[in-house]
Symmetry: C2
Subunit: 450 residues, 2 copies
Amino acid sequence: MRLLVIGGSDAGVSAATRAREVNPTAEVTVLLVDAFPNYSICGLPFYLSGETPNWQDLAHRKAFEGIDVLTEHRAITIDPRAKTVVAAVSAERKSFSYDRLIIATGARPIRPPVPGVDLAGVYQLHTMEDTFRLERELAEGKSVVIVGAGYIGVEMADALTRRGLTVTLLGRSTVLPTVDPPLGRTIEAHLRDHGVTVYTDVELSAIERHETRLEVTGSRGVHVQADLVLLAAGVEPNAELGVAAGITTGVKRALRVNHRMETNLPDVYAAGDCVETWHRTLKRFTYLPLGTTAHKQGRVAGENAAGGAREFAGSLGTQVVKVFDLAVARTGLRDVEASRAGLDALTVETNAPDHKAYYPNSWAIQMRVTAERSGGRLLGGQLLGHWQSEIAKRIDVFATALFHDMNVDELNDLDLSYTPPFGSPWDPAQAAAQAWMSAQRTEATRRSLR
Amino acid sequence: MRLLVIGGSDAGVSAATRAREVNPTAEVTVLLVDAFPNYSICGLPFYLSGETPNWQDLAHRKAFEGIDVLTEHRAITIDPRAKTVVAAVSAERKSFSYDRLIIATGARPIRPPVPGVDLAGVYQLHTMEDTFRLERELAEGKSVVIVGAGYIGVEMADALTRRGLTVTLLGRSTVLPTVDPPLGRTIEAHLRDHGVTVYTDVELSAIERHETRLEVTGSRGVHVQADLVLLAAGVEPNAELGVAAGITTGVKRALRVNHRMETNLPDVYAAGDCVETWHRTLKRFTYLPLGTTAHKQGRVAGENAAGGAREFAGSLGTQVVKVFDLAVARTGLRDVEASRAGLDALTVETNAPDHKAYYPNSWAIQMRVTAERSGGRLLGGQLLGHWQSEIAKRIDVFATALFHDMNVDELNDLDLSYTPPFGSPWDPAQAAAQAWMSAQRTEATRRSLR
């Protein structure tokens, strides 16, 4: 069985690895567009900040036993009838035939449609090459404007501040728009406390060069000069190769797949940032490009392509990010997302200490719980706290609860761990559940008295 | 409705508080044997270590709105027909009548049945009075023998070392026998690294006084001299009051209750360390005295006594403890516990970094996953790692998975959070699941080739 994988990042390498585990006799070939198989894109900010001194350490995996990883092979056409893929290798063309094909071409950064985004000094951050280009320009005392205040934008604001640059962050809406504004405002204030200049609700209109400086112009009269500009305005699926071969697309023109990660073409699977993702709580497909999801989808695609039968269980959009001394995380749906999906949601914010206040270094956790107003089905959770307050694993408790469609009240039944240095007898998640229920009762009383 | 609660610690106060929430007109009275309502027993080591300087901060709750908390009232008899309770208040006797009664008399330290446990200089740690007595004796340079290497024993070894005492720890079996020996050995080595002398597999035989010093004698030829001895040999249910009133007992002579926390006596509930606890994975009653469980059982008892209808969902025995720089946690069943219950369990140990190794300060987590050999139903998890490796909340992900009777393989479907400073694309819990499955496959292959 010849399995061909296009793409050698998270989804592609997971698929190839899993296929070999399931079927050790499969001939597995990975076509990789650059020279860096399975590098951690999520790790780029930490290399640029200096926290990870050696870029080689960013490889998730360095050995690919039994897998033929072909670097600098850019797949250019798929012929699904002949079951072949043609790749460009420098000026050459090479043809590969397959029994099963997995497309894992990932995503690419969105380039804002304004003048100046191609000027020298304007960077993006998606590949190792992008990273090396930017790295060469970094020097203490330089200034940078980061366009985009999402995960990458705020991580890079942290990284480049650490590196000694003067950072201005431009957000189209709030800071970290994937969490609710109250959490975004806490992050925004924290960025300012660390010397980052932050502009929110600014639409980029142009980038111009004035001798050695770049000038970034945006709505609301924003003009900022800097030595460098970093574009971090999100990503879009890199799906054209699959589309040209006849694969149907869906949300955001990502490749459409079923739960087994099969496309509409026979023996062609797709996984990772180039595909639609099943949302477990929404119970519909959406576009949610995340490394964790890419690994899982790749594993499912690889297992099935190798003869197994597994379904992708769905994403909850669980995410966490560290920004200086804070961590912020989310899973499931926010209020606006639930409403957009036609659900009647109630979101309640509360605070609780990460551990018993009598034990040193206790910090408050800002928590937002979203659940169906009637019945209390948990829809999502958002947490913000000190980076040592176990925020990442606390959101995972919510994610595990969401996976099982728990009700808010049932969170109180969970037997969660406690010792004063690490928690409270009622875990903060349970304090948040109790606050939600109390708010729901108050609201119901108010309605009945109207 | 007159609700009387005997006991003002975790279960009693939770019950009283919840009853008032559910029925704001209930007349709620709590009889408390000492002067310290709802003090955090789990916090005593941190007061003694000096980390929590003010003992007053140990109160979980200081205001008891709408609840009549009567301190220094020792309940001495219950008359379930007359529905009255008599309490001793100094030399006086006072009678209290009730419509509903909740017994939350807790547990008491086990006193090893050997000569010398009543000598001056021999302490236990269960009440605030115990704590004050011990605190007066603590001074830098003094020496102490701690008898018992369970949670309290190791916490006190840490606390008293911090306080400047020379500590010897005597365990009947391994260190922290509530986790598997490989984890116990890691903790033991860590205690030694911090200057604690550790003896394991030692049965206490006597304590003697030689002038100002105490001599502790145990099996295997152990003789240790010290200024102080602390007994930390576990607890037993403080159930005699309920028994005398006619309440049936079960495991370890704890009061028997149903899922609604009702005893066999009409209108009499019981909760906390004096009762049997339903184990969610074992699906039988056991004795598992824990603060978290006491809070939950108290809340259920209070809700039902006030007219509600709620069931206790069961305990998983989830626990975590901090010992110097380490945290160790467990939930569900260990291999030996599963076998004892007639389950065919397989336990697999593995290690994974707490976060991507390329980000600074990554530590390994020692993990043990127990699941049914055939079918892979998750039975339990044990984790040991650096105290900043989010061990407490990582065990909670296992606890939430166990709550839902997940299979090991299904852990791979969980959408857990990831960012390089806090995790890996496959969470350590998932790495442990994959290691378990791989070991299970290897074992099955080996069996089929025999």
